[in-house]
Protein backbone atom coordinates (compact mmCIF):
# COMPACT_ATOMS: atom_id res chain seq x y z
CA UNK A 1 0.00 0.00 0.00
CA UNK A 2 1.15 3.47 -0.86
CA UNK A 3 1.89 5.40 2.31
CA UNK A 4 -0.39 8.11 0.98
CA UNK A 5 -3.41 5.87 0.45
CA UNK A 6 -4.71 6.97 3.84
CA UNK A 7 -3.94 10.06 5.87
CA UNK A 8 -4.89 10.14 9.54
CA UNK A 9 -4.51 12.80 12.16
CA UNK A 10 -5.82 15.04 14.88
CA UNK A 11 -8.09 17.85 13.75
CA UNK A 12 -6.14 21.07 13.13
CA UNK A 13 -7.25 24.35 14.69
CA UNK A 14 -8.68 25.57 11.41
CA UNK A 15 -10.87 23.09 9.56
CA UNK A 16 -10.45 24.94 6.26
CA UNK A 17 -6.75 23.98 6.13
CA UNK A 18 -7.74 20.33 6.34
CA UNK A 19 -10.32 20.83 3.58
CA UNK A 20 -7.62 22.35 1.31
CA UNK A 21 -5.42 19.33 1.98
CA UNK A 22 -8.38 17.08 1.18
CA UNK A 23 -8.94 18.82 -2.18
CA UNK A 24 -5.23 18.56 -2.95
CA UNK A 25 -5.36 14.82 -2.30
CA UNK A 26 -8.34 14.46 -4.63
CA UNK A 27 -6.60 16.35 -7.43
CA UNK A 28 -3.11 14.88 -7.14
CA UNK A 29 -3.39 11.37 -5.66
CA UNK A 30 -5.55 8.89 -7.56
CA UNK A 31 -7.40 6.37 -5.34
CA UNK A 32 -5.54 3.05 -4.88
CA UNK A 33 -8.34 0.90 -6.31
CA UNK A 34 -8.25 2.86 -9.59
CA UNK A 35 -4.46 2.74 -9.78
CA UNK A 36 -4.40 -0.99 -9.15
CA UNK A 37 -6.94 -1.82 -11.82
CA UNK A 38 -5.05 0.24 -14.41
CA UNK A 39 -1.86 -1.62 -13.42
CA UNK A 40 -3.57 -4.97 -13.72
CA UNK A 41 -5.03 -4.09 -17.11
CA UNK A 42 -1.67 -2.90 -18.36
CA UNK A 43 -0.22 -6.33 -17.75
CA UNK A 44 -3.14 -7.95 -19.59
CA UNK A 45 -2.79 -5.86 -22.75
CA UNK A 46 -0.67 -7.29 -25.51
CA UNK A 47 3.05 -6.78 -24.89
CA UNK A 48 4.29 -3.66 -26.69
CA UNK A 49 0.85 -2.70 -28.01
CA UNK A 50 -0.26 0.91 -28.18
CA UNK A 51 -2.91 0.11 -25.56
CA UNK A 52 -0.21 -1.06 -23.17
CA UNK A 53 1.91 1.96 -23.95
CA UNK A 54 -1.01 4.30 -23.28
CA UNK A 55 -1.72 2.68 -19.90
CA UNK A 56 1.98 2.86 -19.09
CA UNK A 57 2.03 6.61 -19.70
CA UNK A 58 -1.15 7.04 -17.67
CA UNK A 59 0.47 5.20 -14.73
CA UNK A 60 3.66 7.22 -14.97
CA UNK A 61 1.60 10.38 -15.01
CA UNK A 62 -0.34 9.27 -11.91
CA UNK A 63 2.93 8.59 -10.09
CA UNK A 64 4.48 11.92 -11.08
CA UNK A 65 1.39 13.91 -10.10
CA UNK A 66 1.42 12.27 -6.68
CA UNK A 67 5.10 12.97 -5.99
CA UNK A 68 5.07 16.51 -7.38
CA UNK A 69 1.67 17.31 -5.86
CA UNK A 70 0.37 18.61 -9.19
CA UNK A 71 -3.03 17.85 -10.73
CA UNK A 72 -3.32 14.39 -12.29
CA UNK A 73 -5.17 15.98 -15.20
CA UNK A 74 -5.21 19.69 -15.98
CA UNK A 75 -8.99 19.59 -16.29
CA UNK A 76 -9.86 19.50 -12.62
CA UNK A 77 -13.47 19.60 -13.71
CA UNK A 78 -16.54 20.35 -11.63
CA UNK A 79 -15.92 20.16 -7.89
CA UNK A 80 -18.69 18.07 -6.33
CA UNK A 81 -19.22 17.48 -2.61
CA UNK A 82 -21.52 14.86 -1.11
CA UNK A 83 -21.79 15.43 2.61
CA UNK A 84 -23.22 13.11 5.24
CA UNK A 85 -23.49 15.18 8.38
CA UNK A 86 -24.62 14.62 11.94
CA UNK A 87 -27.44 16.85 13.14
CA UNK A 88 -25.11 19.04 15.21
CA UNK A 89 -23.28 20.31 12.10
CA UNK A 90 -24.53 23.37 10.26
CA UNK A 91 -24.82 22.94 6.49
CA UNK A 92 -24.41 26.70 6.12
CA UNK A 93 -21.06 26.63 7.88
CA UNK A 94 -19.90 23.57 5.95
CA UNK A 95 -20.85 25.22 2.68
CA UNK A 96 -18.95 28.37 3.59
CA UNK A 97 -15.83 26.54 4.78
CA UNK A 98 -15.67 24.20 1.81
CA UNK A 99 -16.17 27.06 -0.65
CA UNK A 100 -13.37 28.90 1.10
CA UNK A 101 -11.19 25.79 0.74
CA UNK A 102 -11.99 25.51 -2.98
CA UNK A 103 -10.86 29.11 -3.49
CA UNK A 104 -7.64 28.48 -1.59
CA UNK A 105 -6.96 25.22 -3.44
CA UNK A 106 -7.40 27.07 -6.74
CA UNK A 107 -4.94 29.74 -5.62
CA UNK A 108 -2.42 27.02 -4.80
CA UNK A 109 -2.82 25.46 -8.23
CA UNK A 110 -4.48 22.22 -7.12
CA UNK A 111 -7.56 23.20 -9.10
CA UNK A 112 -7.69 24.97 -12.46
CA UNK A 113 -9.95 28.04 -12.42
CA UNK A 114 -12.83 26.44 -14.33
CA UNK A 115 -15.98 28.26 -13.28
CA UNK A 116 -17.42 30.61 -15.88
CA UNK A 117 -20.61 32.58 -16.43
CA UNK A 118 -22.75 30.55 -18.82
CA UNK A 119 -23.75 33.54 -20.94
CA UNK A 120 -20.97 36.12 -20.67
CA UNK A 121 -18.14 33.61 -20.33
CA UNK A 122 -16.63 35.62 -17.48
CA UNK A 123 -14.42 33.54 -15.19
CA UNK A 124 -14.18 34.65 -11.55
CA UNK A 125 -10.91 32.72 -11.33
CA UNK A 126 -11.62 30.90 -8.08
CA UNK A 127 -13.97 28.05 -9.04
CA UNK A 128 -17.00 29.64 -7.42
CA UNK A 129 -20.16 30.95 -9.03
CA UNK A 130 -23.88 30.29 -9.22
CA UNK A 131 -24.24 26.61 -8.32
CA UNK A 132 -20.49 26.04 -7.99
CA UNK A 133 -18.98 24.23 -6.24
CA UNK A 134 -21.72 21.58 -6.14
CA UNK A 135 -23.12 20.44 -2.77
CA UNK A 136 -25.38 17.59 -1.74
CA UNK A 137 -26.27 17.23 1.93
CA UNK A 138 -27.66 14.22 3.75
CA UNK A 139 -28.25 14.19 7.51
CA UNK A 140 -27.22 10.99 9.27
CA UNK A 141 -28.11 9.57 12.68
CA UNK A 142 -24.55 9.01 13.90
CA UNK A 143 -21.77 11.32 15.05
CA UNK A 144 -19.36 11.04 12.17
CA UNK A 145 -19.09 13.74 9.50
CA UNK A 146 -18.20 12.35 6.10
CA UNK A 147 -17.38 14.58 3.14
CA UNK A 148 -16.92 12.96 -0.23
CA UNK A 149 -15.39 14.87 -3.10
CA UNK A 150 -15.36 14.15 -6.82
CA UNK A 151 -13.56 16.13 -9.51
CA UNK A 152 -15.58 15.48 -12.63
CA UNK A 153 -13.74 16.34 -15.84
CA UNK A 154 -15.52 18.04 -18.72
CA UNK A 155 -14.53 15.69 -21.53
CA UNK A 156 -16.08 12.73 -19.76
CA UNK A 157 -19.08 14.62 -18.37
CA UNK A 158 -19.98 15.59 -21.95
CA UNK A 159 -20.44 11.95 -22.94
CA UNK A 160 -22.82 11.08 -20.11
CA UNK A 161 -26.22 10.07 -21.44
CA UNK A 162 -29.81 9.47 -20.47
CA UNK A 163 -31.93 7.03 -22.44
CA UNK A 164 -35.71 6.74 -22.22
CA UNK A 165 -36.97 3.21 -22.76
CA UNK A 166 -38.31 1.92 -25.05
CA UNK A 167 -35.63 3.06 -27.51
CA UNK A 168 -36.75 2.18 -31.00
CA UNK A 169 -33.51 2.75 -32.92
CA UNK A 170 -31.63 0.43 -30.57
CA UNK A 171 -34.49 -2.03 -30.35
CA UNK A 172 -34.28 -1.67 -26.58
CA UNK A 173 -37.43 -2.48 -24.64
CA UNK A 174 -38.47 -1.84 -21.06
CA UNK A 175 -36.65 -4.79 -19.58
CA UNK A 176 -33.23 -5.88 -18.40
CA UNK A 177 -32.03 -6.52 -21.95
CA UNK A 178 -33.19 -3.09 -23.04
CA UNK A 179 -31.19 -1.56 -20.20
CA UNK A 180 -28.09 -3.50 -21.26
CA UNK A 181 -28.44 -2.42 -24.89
CA UNK A 182 -28.55 1.28 -24.15
CA UNK A 183 -25.58 0.99 -21.78
CA UNK A 184 -23.52 -0.69 -24.48
CA UNK A 185 -24.55 2.04 -26.89
CA UNK A 186 -23.39 4.73 -24.47
CA UNK A 187 -19.93 3.13 -24.37
CA UNK A 188 -19.72 3.10 -28.17
CA UNK A 189 -20.84 6.74 -28.33
CA UNK A 190 -18.28 7.87 -25.75
CA UNK A 191 -15.23 6.74 -27.70
CA UNK A 192 -12.70 9.36 -28.62
CA UNK A 193 -14.25 11.90 -26.26
CA UNK A 194 -13.96 10.98 -22.59
CA UNK A 195 -10.46 9.61 -21.97
CA UNK A 196 -10.82 5.81 -21.85
CA UNK A 197 -10.56 3.54 -19.95
CA UNK A 198 -13.45 4.78 -17.85
CA UNK A 199 -15.90 3.96 -15.11
CA UNK A 200 -19.64 3.87 -15.78
CA UNK A 201 -22.04 4.97 -13.08
CA UNK A 202 -25.56 3.88 -13.93
CA UNK A 203 -28.91 4.78 -12.43
CA UNK A 204 -31.93 2.78 -13.52
CA UNK A 205 -35.28 4.46 -12.94
CA UNK A 206 -36.16 7.69 -11.15
CA UNK A 207 -36.91 10.85 -13.09
CA UNK A 208 -34.47 12.79 -15.25
CA UNK A 209 -32.92 14.50 -12.20
CA UNK A 210 -32.85 11.75 -9.58
CA UNK A 211 -31.77 9.10 -12.09
CA UNK A 212 -28.80 11.19 -13.19
CA UNK A 213 -27.85 11.86 -9.59
CA UNK A 214 -28.04 8.17 -8.71
CA UNK A 215 -25.81 7.40 -11.71
CA UNK A 216 -23.16 9.86 -10.64
CA UNK A 217 -23.23 8.67 -7.02
CA UNK A 218 -22.18 5.21 -8.20
CA UNK A 219 -18.82 6.62 -9.23
CA UNK A 220 -18.01 7.09 -5.54
CA UNK A 221 -18.07 3.30 -5.09
CA UNK A 222 -14.87 1.31 -4.74
CA UNK A 223 -14.09 -0.38 -8.05
CA UNK A 224 -13.79 -3.73 -6.28
CA UNK A 225 -17.22 -3.73 -4.65
CA UNK A 226 -20.39 -5.34 -6.00
CA UNK A 227 -23.97 -4.22 -5.89
CA UNK A 228 -25.73 -5.88 -2.93
CA UNK A 229 -28.60 -6.62 -5.35
CA UNK A 230 -27.82 -9.95 -7.01
CA UNK A 231 -29.30 -9.12 -10.39
CA UNK A 232 -27.57 -5.75 -10.54
CA UNK A 233 -24.28 -7.33 -9.47
CA UNK A 234 -24.62 -9.80 -12.32
CA UNK A 235 -25.34 -6.94 -14.76
CA UNK A 236 -22.30 -5.03 -13.55
CA UNK A 237 -20.09 -8.01 -14.23
CA UNK A 238 -21.62 -8.83 -17.60
CA UNK A 239 -21.46 -5.25 -18.89
CA UNK A 240 -17.88 -4.80 -17.77
CA UNK A 241 -16.93 -7.93 -19.65
CA UNK A 242 -18.96 -7.16 -22.76
CA UNK A 243 -18.04 -3.48 -22.79
CA UNK A 244 -14.41 -4.54 -22.93
CA UNK A 245 -15.18 -6.69 -25.94
CA UNK A 246 -16.02 -3.59 -27.99
CA UNK A 247 -12.32 -3.19 -28.74
CA UNK A 248 -12.22 0.58 -28.17
CA UNK A 249 -9.34 0.39 -25.72
CA UNK A 250 -7.32 3.03 -23.85
CA UNK A 251 -7.64 6.43 -25.59
CA UNK A 252 -9.66 4.67 -28.28
CA UNK A 253 -6.46 3.11 -29.67
CA UNK A 254 -8.00 -0.37 -29.66
CA UNK A 255 -7.33 -3.03 -27.03
CA UNK A 256 -8.84 -4.93 -24.15
CA UNK A 257 -9.37 -2.12 -21.68
CA UNK A 258 -12.28 0.16 -22.54
CA UNK A 259 -13.78 0.14 -19.03
CA UNK A 260 -12.32 -0.27 -15.56
CA UNK A 261 -15.64 -0.42 -13.76
CA UNK A 262 -19.42 -0.59 -14.13
CA UNK A 263 -21.49 0.37 -11.10
CA UNK A 264 -25.27 0.09 -11.22
CA UNK A 265 -28.07 1.10 -8.85
CA UNK A 266 -31.80 1.32 -9.27
CA UNK A 267 -34.64 3.39 -7.86
CA UNK A 268 -38.39 3.25 -8.28
CA UNK A 269 -40.03 4.97 -11.23
CA UNK A 270 -43.57 5.74 -12.31
CA UNK A 271 -45.28 3.62 -14.97
CA UNK A 272 -44.96 6.19 -17.76
CA UNK A 273 -41.18 6.73 -17.49
CA UNK A 274 -38.26 4.36 -17.69
CA UNK A 275 -34.93 6.17 -17.70
CA UNK A 276 -31.46 4.71 -17.81
CA UNK A 277 -28.97 7.40 -16.77
CA UNK A 278 -25.29 6.97 -17.46
CA UNK A 279 -22.45 8.96 -16.03
CA UNK A 280 -19.05 8.39 -17.60
CA UNK A 281 -15.92 8.97 -15.57
CA UNK A 282 -12.54 8.94 -17.31
CA UNK A 283 -9.49 7.03 -16.05
CA UNK A 284 -8.72 10.10 -13.94
CA UNK A 285 -11.40 8.99 -11.46
CA UNK A 286 -10.63 11.57 -8.83
CA UNK A 287 -12.63 10.96 -5.68
CA UNK A 288 -11.77 10.96 -1.97
CA UNK A 289 -13.50 10.70 1.34
CA UNK A 290 -12.82 12.68 4.50
CA UNK A 291 -14.18 11.32 7.77
CA UNK A 292 -14.20 13.42 10.93
CA UNK A 293 -15.07 11.97 14.31
CA UNK A 294 -14.00 12.68 17.91
CA UNK A 295 -11.49 15.33 16.89
CA UNK A 296 -9.74 12.88 14.53
CA UNK A 297 -9.80 12.74 10.77
CA UNK A 298 -9.05 10.27 8.04
CA UNK A 299 -8.65 10.97 4.31
CA UNK A 300 -8.92 7.91 2.08
Amino acid sequence: MNSKDKINGIMPGNRVDLFVEFIKEASTNLPPDVRKIIEKQKSREEEGSRAQQALGIILENIEMACTRETPICQDTGTVIFHIHYPGKESTLVLRRELTDAVQKATEKGYLRPNSMDSITGENPGDNTGIGLPVFFFDETDHDELEIKIMLKGGGCENVGAQYALPHTALNAGRDVNGVKKVILDAIVQAQGKGCAPGVLGIGIGGDRVTGALLAKEQIFRDLNDKSPDLLLAQMEEELLEKGNKLGIGPMGFGGLTTLIGVKIAKMHRIPASFFVSISYMCWATRRKSLKIHDNKFEIS
Partner: protein, 210 residues
Protein backbone atom coordinates in the same frame (compact mmCIF):
# COMPACT_ATOMS: atom_id res chain seq x y z
CA UNK B 1 7.84 -4.08 -29.37
CA UNK B 2 7.13 -1.78 -32.28
CA UNK B 3 9.92 0.45 -33.45
CA UNK B 4 9.65 4.08 -32.41
CA UNK B 5 10.01 6.65 -35.18
CA UNK B 6 11.77 9.89 -34.33
CA UNK B 7 10.50 13.22 -35.61
CA UNK B 8 12.46 16.47 -35.31
CA UNK B 9 10.22 19.45 -36.00
CA UNK B 10 10.33 21.91 -37.66
CA UNK B 11 12.45 19.94 -40.08
CA UNK B 12 10.11 17.17 -41.08
CA UNK B 13 10.08 16.32 -44.76
CA UNK B 14 7.15 15.00 -46.72
CA UNK B 15 8.77 11.63 -47.35
CA UNK B 16 9.03 10.86 -43.63
CA UNK B 17 5.39 11.79 -43.11
CA UNK B 18 4.23 9.70 -46.06
CA UNK B 19 6.05 6.69 -44.61
CA UNK B 20 4.01 6.84 -41.38
CA UNK B 21 1.03 4.57 -40.90
CA UNK B 22 -1.73 4.45 -38.33
CA UNK B 23 -0.65 2.77 -35.15
CA UNK B 24 2.98 3.87 -35.52
CA UNK B 25 4.56 5.24 -32.38
CA UNK B 26 6.54 8.42 -32.77
CA UNK B 27 8.81 10.30 -30.44
CA UNK B 28 9.09 14.03 -31.02
CA UNK B 29 12.18 16.04 -30.18
CA UNK B 30 12.37 19.61 -31.43
CA UNK B 31 10.37 22.83 -31.54
CA UNK B 32 6.58 22.72 -31.70
CA UNK B 33 3.79 25.30 -31.28
CA UNK B 34 0.56 25.12 -29.24
CA UNK B 35 -2.73 26.43 -30.57
CA UNK B 36 -6.36 25.76 -29.82
CA UNK B 37 -9.79 27.34 -30.38
CA UNK B 38 -8.97 31.05 -30.51
CA UNK B 39 -5.74 30.44 -32.43
CA UNK B 40 -7.47 28.41 -35.12
CA UNK B 41 -10.25 30.90 -35.60
CA UNK B 42 -7.70 33.72 -35.73
CA UNK B 43 -5.62 31.99 -38.41
CA UNK B 44 -8.57 31.32 -40.65
CA UNK B 45 -10.29 34.68 -40.15
CA UNK B 46 -7.13 36.74 -40.54
CA UNK B 47 -5.19 34.98 -43.25
CA UNK B 48 -7.62 32.87 -45.22
CA UNK B 49 -10.79 34.97 -45.30
CA UNK B 50 -9.30 38.47 -45.13
CA UNK B 51 -6.36 40.65 -46.10
CA UNK B 52 -4.05 40.82 -43.11
CA UNK B 53 -2.28 43.99 -41.97
CA UNK B 54 1.53 44.17 -41.99
CA UNK B 55 1.56 43.56 -38.27
CA UNK B 56 -0.44 40.37 -38.70
CA UNK B 57 1.81 39.30 -41.55
CA UNK B 58 4.74 39.51 -39.16
CA UNK B 59 2.97 37.13 -36.81
CA UNK B 60 2.42 34.77 -39.71
CA UNK B 61 6.12 34.93 -40.61
CA UNK B 62 7.02 33.96 -37.07
CA UNK B 63 4.57 31.10 -37.08
CA UNK B 64 5.75 29.84 -40.44
CA UNK B 65 9.29 29.71 -39.16
CA UNK B 66 8.26 27.14 -36.56
CA UNK B 67 5.35 25.46 -38.26
CA UNK B 68 6.34 25.00 -41.87
CA UNK B 69 7.51 21.41 -41.73
CA UNK B 70 6.53 21.51 -38.08
CA UNK B 71 3.97 20.36 -35.55
CA UNK B 72 0.96 22.12 -34.04
CA UNK B 73 -0.21 20.93 -30.62
CA UNK B 74 -3.85 21.26 -29.50
CA UNK B 75 -3.12 22.19 -25.91
CA UNK B 76 -4.09 24.86 -23.42
CA UNK B 77 -1.21 24.63 -20.97
CA UNK B 78 -0.93 25.70 -17.37
CA UNK B 79 2.18 27.89 -17.28
CA UNK B 80 4.21 29.10 -14.31
CA UNK B 81 6.85 31.84 -14.24
CA UNK B 82 9.98 31.26 -12.17
CA UNK B 83 11.99 33.82 -10.13
CA UNK B 84 13.92 34.87 -13.23
CA UNK B 85 10.75 35.52 -15.17
CA UNK B 86 11.17 32.40 -17.27
CA UNK B 87 8.09 30.47 -18.29
CA UNK B 88 7.68 26.80 -17.40
CA UNK B 89 4.86 24.40 -18.39
CA UNK B 90 3.32 22.66 -15.38
CA UNK B 91 0.40 20.90 -17.08
CA UNK B 92 0.19 20.26 -20.78
CA UNK B 93 -2.23 17.51 -21.75
CA UNK B 94 -3.92 17.53 -25.16
CA UNK B 95 -7.37 19.06 -25.62
CA UNK B 96 -10.18 17.56 -27.72
CA UNK B 97 -9.25 18.17 -31.34
CA UNK B 98 -12.57 17.86 -33.10
CA UNK B 99 -13.47 21.43 -32.13
CA UNK B 100 -10.85 22.63 -34.63
CA UNK B 101 -12.31 20.60 -37.49
CA UNK B 102 -13.85 23.65 -39.24
CA UNK B 103 -10.40 25.29 -39.41
CA UNK B 104 -7.73 22.62 -39.60
CA UNK B 105 -7.74 22.03 -43.36
CA UNK B 106 -6.99 25.71 -44.01
CA UNK B 107 -4.48 25.92 -41.17
CA UNK B 108 -2.48 22.92 -42.40
CA UNK B 109 -2.48 24.37 -45.92
CA UNK B 110 -1.65 27.92 -44.82
CA UNK B 111 1.37 27.03 -42.70
CA UNK B 112 2.62 23.84 -44.31
CA UNK B 113 2.15 21.87 -41.10
CA UNK B 114 3.33 18.26 -41.11
CA UNK B 115 1.75 17.06 -37.90
CA UNK B 116 -1.12 17.95 -35.58
CA UNK B 117 -1.13 16.60 -32.01
CA UNK B 118 -4.32 16.31 -30.00
CA UNK B 119 -6.78 13.81 -28.62
CA UNK B 120 -9.88 12.12 -29.94
CA UNK B 121 -9.05 12.39 -33.64
CA UNK B 122 -10.54 14.68 -36.29
CA UNK B 123 -12.95 14.53 -39.21
CA UNK B 124 -13.03 13.99 -42.95
CA UNK B 125 -11.81 17.45 -43.95
CA UNK B 126 -8.68 17.25 -41.83
CA UNK B 127 -8.04 13.75 -43.14
CA UNK B 128 -8.26 15.18 -46.65
CA UNK B 129 -5.72 17.87 -45.76
CA UNK B 130 -3.36 15.18 -44.44
CA UNK B 131 -3.64 13.35 -47.73
CA UNK B 132 -3.35 16.42 -49.97
CA UNK B 133 -0.53 18.24 -48.23
CA UNK B 134 1.32 15.40 -46.55
CA UNK B 135 0.51 15.61 -42.84
CA UNK B 136 -0.51 13.28 -40.00
CA UNK B 137 -2.64 13.45 -36.89
CA UNK B 138 -0.79 12.39 -33.76
CA UNK B 139 -2.64 11.26 -30.67
CA UNK B 140 -1.18 12.14 -27.27
CA UNK B 141 -2.35 10.57 -24.00
CA UNK B 142 -5.39 12.47 -22.78
CA UNK B 143 -5.17 13.61 -19.21
CA UNK B 144 -1.42 12.95 -18.88
CA UNK B 145 -0.86 16.58 -17.98
CA UNK B 146 2.10 16.28 -15.65
CA UNK B 147 3.84 13.63 -17.72
CA UNK B 148 3.70 15.68 -20.91
CA UNK B 149 4.64 18.93 -19.15
CA UNK B 150 7.86 17.19 -18.10
CA UNK B 151 8.65 16.65 -21.79
CA UNK B 152 8.61 20.40 -22.38
CA UNK B 153 12.23 21.29 -21.78
CA UNK B 154 12.15 24.93 -22.76
CA UNK B 155 9.59 27.64 -23.45
CA UNK B 156 10.95 29.88 -26.22
CA UNK B 157 8.24 32.42 -26.32
CA UNK B 158 4.69 33.14 -27.19
CA UNK B 159 2.74 34.89 -29.90
CA UNK B 160 -0.63 36.53 -29.45
CA UNK B 161 -0.26 36.72 -25.69
CA UNK B 162 -3.51 38.71 -25.62
CA UNK B 163 -5.45 35.49 -26.32
CA UNK B 164 -4.69 34.44 -22.72
CA UNK B 165 -2.49 31.64 -21.42
CA UNK B 166 -4.45 28.60 -22.63
CA UNK B 167 -5.20 30.09 -26.06
CA UNK B 168 -1.94 31.81 -27.07
CA UNK B 169 0.62 30.28 -29.43
CA UNK B 170 3.39 28.90 -27.20
CA UNK B 171 6.64 28.04 -28.93
CA UNK B 172 8.20 25.20 -27.00
CA UNK B 173 11.04 22.70 -27.17
CA UNK B 174 10.04 19.17 -26.40
CA UNK B 175 12.16 16.11 -25.82
CA UNK B 176 10.92 12.60 -26.42
CA UNK B 177 7.24 13.51 -26.57
CA UNK B 178 5.53 10.23 -27.49
CA UNK B 179 2.43 10.06 -29.64
CA UNK B 180 0.63 7.56 -31.82
CA UNK B 181 -0.28 8.16 -35.45
CA UNK B 182 -4.04 7.78 -35.72
CA UNK B 183 -4.72 9.59 -39.02
CA UNK B 184 -2.16 9.08 -41.74
CA UNK B 185 -1.48 10.78 -45.08
CA UNK B 186 -3.07 7.97 -47.07
CA UNK B 187 -6.68 8.72 -46.19
CA UNK B 188 -6.90 6.25 -43.30
CA UNK B 189 -8.19 7.04 -39.81
CA UNK B 190 -7.67 4.62 -36.96
CA UNK B 191 -10.59 6.30 -35.17
CA UNK B 192 -12.90 5.52 -38.05
CA UNK B 193 -11.88 1.86 -38.24
CA UNK B 194 -12.15 1.38 -34.46
CA UNK B 195 -15.57 3.02 -34.51
CA UNK B 196 -16.75 0.71 -37.28
CA UNK B 197 -15.38 -2.36 -35.52
CA UNK B 198 -16.96 -1.37 -32.22
CA UNK B 199 -20.32 -0.89 -33.94
CA UNK B 200 -20.08 -4.37 -35.38
CA UNK B 201 -19.13 -5.80 -31.99
CA UNK B 202 -22.05 -3.90 -30.45
CA UNK B 203 -24.48 -5.61 -32.82
CA UNK B 204 -23.06 -9.01 -32.05
CA UNK B 205 -23.14 -8.37 -28.30
CA UNK B 206 -26.70 -7.08 -28.47
CA UNK B 207 -27.71 -10.45 -29.82
CA UNK B 208 -26.35 -12.08 -26.63
CA UNK B 209 -28.81 -10.13 -24.44
CA UNK B 210 -31.54 -12.70 -24.64
Amino acid sequence: MKEIIHLNPPNIDEKTIRSLKNGDMVSITGTIVTGRDVAHKYLKDTFVLNHPSQQEKDVLDQLEKHLSGGILYHCGPVVAKDENGKYRFTAAGPTTSIREEPYEYDVIKLLGIRGVIGKGGMGAKTLKACEEFGAVYLHAIGGAATFIAAKVVEVHGLLKKEFGTPEAFWIIDVKDFQCIVTMDSHGESLHESILQNSRKAQEELNATFK
